[in-house]
Structure formats: C-alpha cells, structure tokens
Assembly symmetry: C2
C-alpha cells in the first residue's frame, strides 16, 4: 500500500463520516436525555438540536436542557417546529402527542425517527403511506429491542432467505423481573429494584402483561413479512397474575421462565399469527442465558439457517444509540444528495405468499405445554378436576402426554400442533374458577 493511499485513507477516516443533520427532539426523559448527552459528547455542543419538547422544563434532569432562556425548549407540541422536511427524533412514548408530531413531520416530507413501539404498531401503515407520498421517512430501529439491532437484521435479509419464524425475548423489564424471581427475590422486591434501575415505569403493566412485547412482535412481522402491524393477530399471556408461582413451577421442572414472543409467516388465508406467552426453557439454553434486561431474537429461515441477535433491551443509553444509528442513516442519505432513499423505511416486501411447508400449523412440529392446576374445583372440594380436564382436552383434540398429582395439584403435559387450542383450554379452565399455570416448553 502506498503511503499516499494510506494518507488519503487516514484523512478520510479522520472526517468521521457525514455530519449529523440538525434535528428536533420530542421528549427529554431517560432516552431523549441520553441522546442529548451523546450528541453533546460527540460534538462538544448541542447546537444541532434546534428545538426540544418537554412537559416540565423545571424538572431536574441528569442531562440539563439547553439554555432555558434561548427559546429552544418548548412545552406545547404545536410549538415544536416539525414541518418543512425536518428531522424529528421522538422519545416521548405513548400515542398522543407523538402521533400528531409524526403526521406533521411526515406530511411535510421530513424524517421521523422514533423509539415508540405502540405508535408504530398501531399507526405504522398510515405513517408509512404518508411518508411514501411526501418523500418523508419513518425509521424505528429503536422501537424494538433497545440496542439489539433486530429491525435492521430483518430489513436487510433478502426475501429469498424465507423467514419461517421469528421468536424473541422482546421485553427487558419482564425478563429482569423473572431473573430476580429466579434469584430468590419476591415480586415486590423485584419490582422495586427494577424501578430503581430505571427498567420499570411506575406502572409496568404493559411490560408484564405482554402488551409491549406484542407491539414489538407486530413490528417485526411488518418488517419481515410486509403484513401491516395492526393486522397481526396476537394471542397474549403475560407473566401475571402470579409470577412467583410460574417461577416456582419452572424451578420444580428444572428450567427457567422466559416471556417469549413469536410470529410465523401469513398462513394460506393471509393471516399472520403471533403469540406472547411465558415459556419453560432449559437452564442451559440460549434463552435462559438472556439475563437482566437483555433481549434476544432468533430468526429461523428456510435458506439462511437460523440467525440470532442479542443485546441490551432497555436502558436510555442503548436506546439512544439506536436512535443515533437511524440518525447516521439520515446523514448518509443527505450526503448522497437529491433526497434518494438511502435505506428502505422498512423493506418494501412482497407480502409473503402462503407457503404450505411452513405457514400452516402442520409445518411446525407438535409442541408441549406444562399445565398445572388445583386438583379440586375451588369451593367444591368434592369435585375432582381431572375428569373435567380430560373432557376439555379431548374436545380440543389435545394429547395428554403426562399427568401427575402432587400435593393436591395436577401437573400435566399437553401436546398439540395447534397452540390456539391450548389457549381455549386455558379459558375454559378459568371459567371453572380454576387458575391454570401454563408454560409452553420452548425448544432451545
């Protein structure tokens, strides 16, 4: 290598890539504040951030707001200048006022970079259509998996890879809580430490009941299969009502509880089904190895083998770095001139054709569930549950692989290729005032 080439290379490297574009920041909490800190650190100034929307400018923050008197800090969404092709980074969460900001940004041909999974899961197709019409861009790497780059992994995978299934631990909060329970903490101790570490909001309902993971698996289905996220049918069971009992159950069975989300390609009728449910995983499995607030996703393909990715699923800095990755794309797009589409907003995919080998339930092997429940009907100590359970299972055409009675409880193992039938069994048992504990047995 000549020294001239070397010098040129070094010179180029010193430039550090195209400069970040000026931006407008909506929200300056954990994630927004971390982004502000990263920008200040990287550039020695926050002058790139032209305007910031916050609810309460007086609140004390680890990362202080820029010059409180300089007019860059606004408190009303309508005051935030998002029109006219701006780059807007949204870290507010929730639907309002984020949706209005997204519409205004994208209608004006701007770029809307967001960490907001509910917004994209509920309104992604509308926003994407707005962007397509105006030449704007919607980017949401930070909306799934915090710092774990699974949106990119799916976006960059060619259709020819043929994704057969996406599975993941997509909610860091519930994973952290389950880990704490496995370490012997009580539920209330676990919640307290999750709040102290910033992993859980005051109200972590969306995390523990699986709604957060459901939003995320919808987004992944959109990116992988082109199915509008609002059209993905998600069956959802969180770790409630009794996470301690689930963990005790798993411990008795020699495994670990993980809240797994999964989605398969659309079936013959074009319906895309997803599940979020607590699963029993082996102690030495990669799922059990996901600790604390980390996330992991596994993408099984017909052609490219099985791809896995893991990383921090929560935390302000990891999520802010994902926003920064999307901002880096925007910088490249601008460096490329003429408003070219630098990267696809999401991969504009042919909606995956029904694939008889993979998308029907028959394409996947039969699965097993651990179901445990009280041995007698509550309030009716004379009525044994077992015959009722057997009738319910027979009607649902579910195989009872194993049954065991242990200190008053029935512990059973069910087998079927049709997960929805198990959900139905759960409902029927709950209708009998029974509280079944259901753990799907996950493969490694």
């Amino acid at each position: 290598m000549s020294s001239a080439v070397e010098a040129a290379r070094t010179e180029e490297a010193r430039q550090g890539g195209p400069p970040l574009p000026p931006l407008v920041l909506a929200g300056c909490g954990t994630v927004g504040g971390a982004l502000l800190g990263l920008i200040r650190e990287g550039r020695g100034s926050d002058d790139l951030v032209r305007s910031i929307l916050v609810r309460d400018p007086a609140r004390e923050r680890p990362e202080p707001l820029p010059d409180p008197d300089g007019g860059r800090v606004v408190t009303r969404p309508s005051e935030l200048p998002v029109e006219g092709g701006r780059v807007v980074v949204e870290a507010l969460g929730g639907i309002r006022p984020a949706l209005g900001l997204a519409r205004r940004t994208l209608a004006g041909g701007g770029t809307f970079i967001t960490a907001n999974k509910s917004l994209v899961a509920e309104h992604g197709t509308e926003l994407e259509a707005l962007a397509a019409k105006s030449g704007g861009r919607l980017a949401f790497e930070a909306a799934v998996g915090g710092g774990m780059p699974v949106v990119r992994l799916l976006r960059d995978l060619p259709d020819a890879a043929r994704v057969r299934r996406i599975e993941g631990i997509l909610n860091g909060t519930s994973n952290y809580l389950l880990d704490e329970l496995h370490a012997g903490r009580s539920w209330s101790e676990a919640l307290q430490s999750a709040r102290a570490l910033g992993y859980a909001e005051a109200d972590p309902s969306r995390d523990v009941d699986g709604r957060d993971a459901a939003d995320k698996i919808r987004l992944l289905a959109w990116v992988a299969f082109g199915v509008p996220p609002a059209h993905v049918r998600v069956t959802r069971r969180g770790i409630l009502p009794d996470p301690e009992a689930l963990v005790a159950e798993a411990r008795a069975l020699g495994g670990v509880v993980r809240l797994l989300a999964r989605v398969d390609p659309p079936d013959g009728a074009g319906i895309c089904r997803a599940r979020v449910e607590p699963c029993l995983v082996p102690r030495d499995s990669p799922w059990a190895d996901v600790r604390g607030a980390d996330n992991r996703a596994r993408v099984s393909t017909a052609r490219a083998g099985t791809l896995s990715v893991s990383g921090p699923g929560a935390g302000g800095q990891a999520t802010a770095l994902s926003l920064l990755t999307d901002l880096g794309d925007e910088a490249l797009r601008r460096a490329g001139g003429s408003g070219g589409l630098a990267r696809p907003v999401f991969p504009v995919r042919t909606i995956v054709a029904p694939d008889p080998d993979s998308s029907r339930a028959e394409g996947h092997p039969a699965e097993r569930w651990h179901l445990s429940l009280e041995g007698k009907i509550p309030g009716h100590p004379e009525i044994e549950v077992r015959p009722r359970l057997e009738r319910i299972l027979a009607r649902a055409d579910i195989r009872l692989v194993d049954v065991d009675r242990d200190s008053g409880r029935l512990r059973t193992v069910l087998e079927t290729r049709h997960a929805p039938r198990v959900d139905l069994v759960g409902e029927r048992l709950r209708a009998l005032a029974l509280e079944p504990r259901l753990l799907r047995l996950a493969e490694r």
Copy 2:
C-alpha cells in the same frame, strides 16, 4: 386506517422493492452457483447476469451455467466486462485473479461485491481508496461469517457506542471439525464428513491453522475501528498439530474447545492487536452452543452493552444470501438516483482514540490459560520439566495458579493480563522440544 391507504400500501408491498441491477458474476462454484440459483428462482430468469467467469465451463454443476453458446460464459478474467460502472459480484476466492477484477471494477466507478476475505484483508484499503476516488463501492458483508450479519452490525453501530472488544467463532469449518471430535469422531473421519458436506476444501489448512479467522478479525477491526486490516497484528494459533489431544484435554477439564478470534481497540501507540486461538469454554456457554459450521460474534461496548449475533458461517446458500443483501443495497442506491452513497462502504470512522480505560491490557481482567505438557524433556527422561517451566513463567512474570501431575503430564493453570507473554512461553517450551497444549479459558 382508510382502505385507500391500505390499498396503496398493499400495492407498494407487491412491488417487492427496487429491482436488482444487472450484474457480472466472477466464479460459479458453491457460492456463485447458489447466487445464480437464487436469482433464477426470484426472477424466473437469469437475464440479469450479463456475464459469468468460470475456469471450466464443461464441469458439471448443480446449478447449470446460462446458455453455454450465448456468449455470456467467459473463461479468461480479461474477458469479463467489469469496466464502466458495472456491478461485479466476486465469488472466486484467493488473490488472483480477484484483485485485478476488483481494481478494474473500482477504478471504473463500479460496485465490487465480494465474499473474498483474503482479498479484502490484504488489499482492502487500496481498493477502498480506489473506490473513494472513482465513486465506486466495495461491499464485503459476505466475507465474514457467511450468513451472520456481523459486518452490518459493526458498520451501523455509532462510534459513541465505543466498542471495547470483538470476539467470535469466525471459521465454520474448524468449528464443525471440533464438534465432530467432541462427538467422538476421529480427526480423519471429521475431515471426511466436512468435505462431504462442502464445509471443507480439499486442503482446509487456512481454516484449521486460523488464517481464515485471522483475515476475518482483521476485517472486523477495520469496520469497527477504522484500522487498515493489513495493519492489525494478529497472533495466531490454530487447532493443529493435534486437535484430538486438544479436545481430550478440554473434555478432561469439563469443557469444550472453540477456536476464538478477538480484537481490541488500538492501544495508546495506535496498534491494534488481535488473537486467534483455541479456547476452553464451559459446556453451557453460548460459545459451546455454536454448533457445526455456525458462527457467532460478540461485540462488547462501553455504551450499548454487549451485542451478539450468530448464524450459518459457511455454506453456499447462506453466503449467497449475504451477497444478495449487498446487491439489495446497490438496488436501493440506484433507486435513490444521482449516485448517492446509500450505505457507507464501511463506516468511515475516526480512528478510535487511545482509551486508557479499555485499550491497555490493564483495562481487561487477568485471563487464565490451561497449559499441559509432558513431565520430562523428550529424550531426557532424567530431566523434570517443572523447574524449567517455573523459571520460564517467572521470567515472563506469569502467575502459576495451579499445577498438577497426572499420568506423566504436567497440567497447569497460568494467569496474566498480558496474553503475548503466554505466546512467548509457548515458543520457549517448543524450543525445548516440548509440545505444550494451550487452551485459553474463555469467559462465557
């Protein structure tokens, strides 16, 4: 969502993204043939492939060459039309004639997409400089990890994430062979089945002596730290000369052997050091969980936690799909018009500044090695090895944590923060005609 929006969305989805550009294919072996097959399957024709370079057009292939009489198949590199801004996909391997094709393509402002790690490891900076001058592009996702998207992961990670270490199982062939040995096969049986499955060439030297993994870790250092790959100093020990003994050693210690590569950021003097060496990993570690020809990479960062990615590290189809991903980028770049840089060729990074917390050896915890060797000097049954070993270790300032004598062999555990000192000890022992078996104890 309005049905008009929905209809527009569906229409857009049906388009399946921008069309692939016409291309020239160099090489039609396992990888090139798989790519040809994927293109045929996706488009119903191979008319996109304007010209193919092969050594022997008469050879029988699983994927037949296009119309042997149509003039698209050439056998001399000079006949391949790579000038004038073409998209060239190279799947030949080796330096010649790939280097000449790359130079001609990039000097002409074309795009050179390659799966050739040695080419990029040796000549990457020269090719990149050519591309920067002419407006061409060099893309090499397929050169590391087959279908495991680690180049992209590193490329998309913002500098602010601060990569502290990259580790990986980067050679599928040696991993497959080690797995077979652990399953009880002999070395020669393992080699035979690796060849039968297409995981090993007739001569797998570059795989088993660690040169292939060394090339790949150089490329990752380039992408992550901006250090020219040819400048990365790699200390390399493969699984030779006696892989069966290594596996027996690991089994006796209750673990599994994996050939791990790793690289740290440049140190205070700007020197970037990498290692490729057989390591002892716990049976339940994610490294042990990498089976057959799969690959895995782990990226530790100061800011974005630890990111891992795994997938098929070898195999024609997985590698061809990576080439297709790079082709998809090219399609997007062209759709964006005006020759804009759709994605960075590699992240044009500031060469990472010396980071006192991480890049000095002191920034990482002390590590341990299992060293086992004969108890007496070969040919001198009267001379005990132990006192000599202790002197050598003392001179190298390496702690001897444990020593044990077992059926004539010395089994020791060494500890140091300075890996190169262990390499030196290995050399000194070999100078005494001893054949030390060294396994670094890897963290989970």
